[in-house]
């Protein structure tokens, strides 16, 4: 990566408790988010994208989840294991917006009340002014009126804007957006993405954008991580990945979208392994992979450097890269 890294995760893994055993959900992996950049994570549902995001904010209940590895924010170690010490980071230095804006808000509270939660006395008036200001910055028409509305009175796009405003109140440097536009119409989706891109330009906000929508990721991100079955299978700068994807999964994903054509789609057969499903110790993609051979069944492959900053987890990347 060219610029300076804002967040670095080293050997980060997540396991889920089931009875006495721990089932791996996210396998150990490294990750970096560039300051002022937009890093994208793409993959099918259940591949561990959201789990990874939650881990960065230390949102996992230690009784049910086991998190290993280190996260550094601006060179400082993030205490992801200690809930009480995370307050210095959550909302202040990094915050998160979620997929479904309607379920993220309390239906019994007005939008304004969400902004004022935890404020008392004089603080309140100040906070209210700030909130109106922030809503205005999100290009929200008539922010004062919005403060008095209940979540169900606003459209999905407006709620998503309110959520972004709410998460940016503490002026964080990093915004983690977990499928921010999946629940929205394509025209509204465009407005929200435009807003996020603008925040990045104007305020130098760094973004971690999670999506299963290739179109969204390829337009927004400058660095892509492709995840499959809890593993990062390919990573690199967006233009490199789009022009020269190496991992068969990435290729399959890119080919799956009908791009205004009537030509038959090349599909990846099968489905990704479920969490905890036994993949026989081999490459988890092998059963769906057109290039798989006997070697793929023996031991998981490692993330290897294919080019300057293009990494891929496939043992055949060299021999069969031209395919």
């Amino acid at each position: 990566m060219t610029g300076e890294n804002l967040l670095v995760a080293e050997g980060l893994s997540v396991s889920m408790r089931e009875g006495e055993t721990w089932i791996p959900v996210v396998y150990p992996g490294d990750m970096a988010i560039e300051r002022g950049g937009c890093t994208g994570i793409i993959g099918e549902s259940g591949c561990g994208k959201s789990m990874l995001c939650k881990t960065l904010l230390g949102l996992h209940d230690p009784g049910k989840w086991q998190v290993r590895g280190q996260v550094f924010f601006d060179g400082e170690r993030v205490p992801i294991e200690a809930d009480d010490r995370m307050d210095a980071f959550r909302g202040r230095r990094m915050s998160m917006i979620l997929q479904d804006p309607l379920s993220a808000f309390d239906p019994r509270m007005t939008i304004g009340a969400h902004f004022l939660e935890g404020c008392k006395g004089k603080q309140k008036a100040l906070r209210r002014r700030e909130a109106v200001e922030w809503l205005g910055r999100m290009y929200m028409p008539e922010p004062e009126a919005v403060m008095k509305r209940y979540p169900f009175e606003l459209s999905g796009g407006m709620l998503q804007r309110a959520m972004i405003a709410l998460s940016l109140m503490g002026e964080p440097e990093l915004l983690i957006a977990d499928e921010p536009t999946t629940a929205l119409d394509s025209t509204v989706q465009r407005e929200i993405l435009w807003l996020l891109a603008r925040l990045r330009e104007e305020r130098g906000l760094s973004l971690l954008l999670v999506s299963h929508d290739l179109k969204v990721i390829s337009r927004m991100a400058d660095w892509i991580y492709v995840m499959y079955a809890g593993r990062i299978v390919e990573q690199g700068p967006v233009n490199v990945l789009l022009e020269n994807p190496i991992h068969p999964y990435t290729k399959g994903l890119f080919r799956s979208r009908p791009a205004y054509s009537k030509e038959r789609l090349t599909v990846m057969a099968g489905r990704p392994p479920r969490i905890g499903e036994d993949t026989g110790g081999g490459c988890p993609f092998a059963p769906r992979c057109p290039q798989a051979d006997a070697a793929c069944g023996e031991g998981d492959s490692k993330l290897e450097r294919a080019d300057e900053d293009h990494f891929v987890r496939c043992r055949h990347w060299k021999g069969k890269a031209g395919l």
């Binding site: 796009g157 394509s186 799956s256 009537k262």
Partner: protein, 318 residues
């Protein structure tokens, strides 16, 4: 029109449907929507949520009654009790569309019991054939809905719809809650089935690219009205309605232009609301958001008129 026309299977004539909101204000779900669909063709209906595309599906399926207008099936007014078996529907959320306490075999056997005279053994065979038709295996009939993934369950729903050997398949956002790779699998499956079984389809979706892949003709809806219609979807670039343009451009993200951020309808003042409501009753449905809107647009609703062969548009400037 360019393509040879088969017999018209479905004709929807100026149907309107209005709901009453709690404040006793009418909600116009459908306004004088009309189109015809030839046998073996697929009509794609696109538009954002709340534009009436699902209501259109429900009205055609007979789940809702239109206030005005009529639906002709094979040239005759549709009697839904008679045509039920030849008109089947696939819904968006497959988990809600099946009884989770029944095994897949039973789910598929139900329409066979209702619409065919097959005996128990024949039904069993038919269930297996249907499962294989949609790319599942015969053993899957012993599984419960929860044991399937979203894509597999949607296949079951498609198989169930096909069990009654329908002529017309109504697909209401069949792909929306699925992963890209699963969407691709189902798109291929639907396109194969359409050819093999000579199905006529109505595909409702907000995903223009998926619609383009599957549909032959396209209907664009906004605010309950059809704003543009094109006979051959391959001419998609020739569409000119301001809303359709915006829909097409939504695929392309432009960070430079400042206008994109301000298009949401916003919270309206009472005055604006009334003005818009008036335009909603009498004017163009898109006038409130249209960059080209003039006085005339708010006062007079443009009708869907043929601009050139196979292309109809509802716009004063069209």
């Amino acid at each position: 029109m360019r393509e040879a026309q088969g017999n018209t299977l479905l004709e929807v004539k100026n149907i309107s449907k209005t709901y009453q909101s709690r404040k006793r204000q009418p909600v116009y779900a459908l306004r004088e929507v009309g189109f015809s669909l030839q046998e073996g063709r697929c009509l794609g209906v696109v538009g954002e949520s709340g534009c009436g595309k699902s209501t259109l599906c429900r009205v055609i399926a007979g789940i809702e009654k239109p206030d005005v207008g009529e639906i002709l099936y094979q040239g005759e007014p549709a009697d839904h009790r008679k045509i039920r078996s030849s008109l089947q529907m696939v819904f968006q959320n497959s988990m809600d569309a099946v009884n989770i306490h029944l095994k897949a075999g039973k789910i598929l056997a139900e329409p066979l019991e209702n619409f065919t005279s097959l005996n128990r053994n024949q039904r069993e065979q038919e269930v297996e054939r249907l499962l294989e038709l949609v790319g599942l295996s015969a053993e899957d009939k012993a599984k419960y809905p929860r044991q399937f993934s979203g894509g597999q369950l949607q296949r079951i729903c498609i198989a169930r719809a096909l069990a009654a050997e329908p002529k017309l398949l109504l697909l209401d956002e069949p792909l929306s809650s699925l992963d890209v790779s699963v969407q691709a699998q189902l798109l291929n499956l639907l396109s194969d089935l359409k050819k093999e079984l000579h199905l006529t389809c109505l595909l409702v979706s907000h995903d223009l690219e998926a619609v383009y892949y599957l549909a032959d003709k396209l209907l664009v809806m906004y605010g309950g009205a059809a704003v543009e219609e094109i006979e051959d979807i391959r001419d998609i670039c020739a569409l000119t309605h301001p809303y359709t343009r915006r829909l097409l451009e939504a695929g392309e993200l432009e960070t430079e232009s400042g206008e994109a951020g301000q298009k949401d309808e916003g919270i309206l003042t009472e005055e604006k609301r009334e003005y818009l409501a008036a335009s909603f009753r009498e004017g163009c449905v898109y006038a409130g958001h249209c960059p080209r809107a003039e006085r005339k647009c708010f006062l007079e609703r443009p009708g869907l008129v043929e601009r050139e062969a196979g292309h109809r548009i509802a716009c004063h400037f069209g």
